[in-house]
């Protein structure tokens, strides 16, 4: 378990920023676009099999999140949002052998010396068509499999406390807490890959309602309820 998984509810923090821009530095747009392209060209998408890209890897939100959650927590909080993306994504391209550290460093130095030097031109338009098509149709995690949900609306459930993994989809503050099933979503939902703590294969998901006071006692506020959608693997039998 990483500190990053337990961020919800931390005390003693300063007021939140209310910066309404999406990108505060022009370069952030570029790494965002690269990440979207990688997701749209990921080798698990059927449509990508005929796209003339040299990208041959599996890349999803899960991979980006795993990288960020796997960071040293002190680094995680030191770097800004898109700085973490830039570090994780460029690290991935180097580790996977698409680019060498030397050529990336050399190019970086070149662009530091001449920031306005142009980008190389060209590439197959079919690559861009696939990336935009991915944005339009997405990559739904819903699976058509016949799985009966274990719980029903109104059931009291206890959130599990599975062994720590590098990447998980269970907010730390919910572990061992009691909630009530508010919605049973029809069907089953997978996750991009097994996280090692129970999520990955298709399973039901639920919207679970928690009384904020059950979680934080008198450190929370009056009449406050928390709703979280949770994979079945993270829930234990009705208490």
């Amino acid at each position: 378990m990483k500190l990053q998984h337990y961020i919800g509810g931390i005390e003693g923090l300063a007021p939140s920023s209310f910066e309404k821009r999406v990108f505060v530095q022009p370069w952030e747009k570029r790494i965002f676009g690269i990440h979207v392209a990688m997701m749209g060209l990921s080798n698990h998408l059927d449509a990508v099999k005929t796209v003339p890209t040299r990208f041959k890897s599996f890349w999803t939100w899960g991979h980006l999140r795993k990288g960020a959650e796997g960071m040293n927590p002190f680094d995680y909080f030191k770097y800004r949002y898109y700085e973490k993306w830039l570090g994780g994504i460029s690290g991935f391209f180097v580790e996977s052998g698409y680019v060498s550290k030397e050529e990336l460093d050399a190019k970086t130095t070149a662009y530091l010396e001449k920031p306005d030097a142009p980008l190389p031109q060209g590439g197959e338009p079919a690559i861009d068509n696939q990336v935009i098509e991915y944005l339009r149709i997405g990559d739904s995690p819903k699976c058509e499999v016949d799985i009966q949900p274990k719980f029903k609306v109104g059931d009291v459930v206890t959130v599990g406390n599975p062994p720590p993994t590098e990447h998980c989809k269970l907010p730390g503050y919910l572990r061992t807490k009691k909630g009530v099933i508010d919605v049973v979503y029809p069907g089953a939902y997978n996750y991009y890959f097994p996280t090692g703590d129970g999520v990955g294969d298709p399973m039901p998901i639920y919207n679970v309602k928690f009384d904020s006071h059950e979680i934080w006692g008198n450190l929370t506020e009056p009449k406050t309820w928390i709703y979280v959608q949770i994979f079945e693997a993270y829930l234990e039998d009705p208490a």
């Binding site: 190019k107 970086t108 920031p115 339009r136 149709i137």
Partner: protein
């Protein structure tokens, strides 16, 4: 990275170097990033959400459908193809009323309903907001300039797995005669996230 180089200058050069190499190696094209950015300026963005809200305000039947089955309500509108695309595969609207106030947060990452709200703003991704909003939403909202009285129930939606929530804000008084288009023009991304109310411009 040497200490003498500013952190932002370095990141700008680093990402340009990466993009340049990915183009040279045939992974993306020289247009890919621009096209992605353009898509979020023209197709997916808070302007879509604003139209949905305005329609829900003037059409009670649509509003009911939106709250019961968000995707099919959105599909019934005249949007460009792709309103159920990336990060919008499973969306759900929740309604603010005088009795109930909704706030969306993603404590683990930055999940956000792209097709209707576009990309998440900085404050939504700020670890401080993510940490605090889930435990002391009233205090956080007060800092954002919004008082939610103790008598109003607050529902905080932690978007941690597959469903992407967004808020149908309350229609401000004084807009009774407004057209759908006029209404859409005053709906802000912050209001559809639960961080602000919709106000009539002075």
């Amino acid at each position: 990275m040497t200490e003498s180089i500013d952190r932002e200058t370095y990141s700008a050069a680093r990402v340009r170097a990466l993009e340049s190499l990915l183009i040279e190696k045939g992974i993306i094209t020289s247009e890919t990033v621009d096209k992605v950015v353009e898509f979020f300026e023209k197709d997916m963005g808070p302007f879509n959400g604003a139209r949905i809200v305005a329609k829900a305000w003037i059409d009670p039947e649509f509003k009911q459908k939106l709250l019961e089955d968000t995707p099919s309500a959105i599909a019934s509108m005249n949007f460009p193809r792709g309103m159920a695309g990336a990060e919008g595969e499973h969306m759900k609207a929740v309604e603010n009323t005088p009795e109930v106030y909704n706030l969306i947060v993603c404590t683990m990452c930055s999940c956000y309903p792209w097709p209707v709200l576009g990309l998440p703003p900085y404050w939504f991704k700020d670890p401080t907001f993510r940490a605090r909003a889930i435990r002391e939403p009233r205090k956080v909202l007060q800092e954002f300039g919004l008082d939610v009285p103790d008598s109003t129930e607050i529902r905080v939606w932690d978007t941690s797995a597959q469903i992407r929530w967004f808020v149908l804000p309350e229609r401000p008084t004084g807009t009774e005669d407004w057209t759908e288009e006029q209404l859409a023009a005053i709906v802000t991304p912050e209001a559809m996230q639960g961080a602000a109310k919709v106000v009539v411009p002075a």
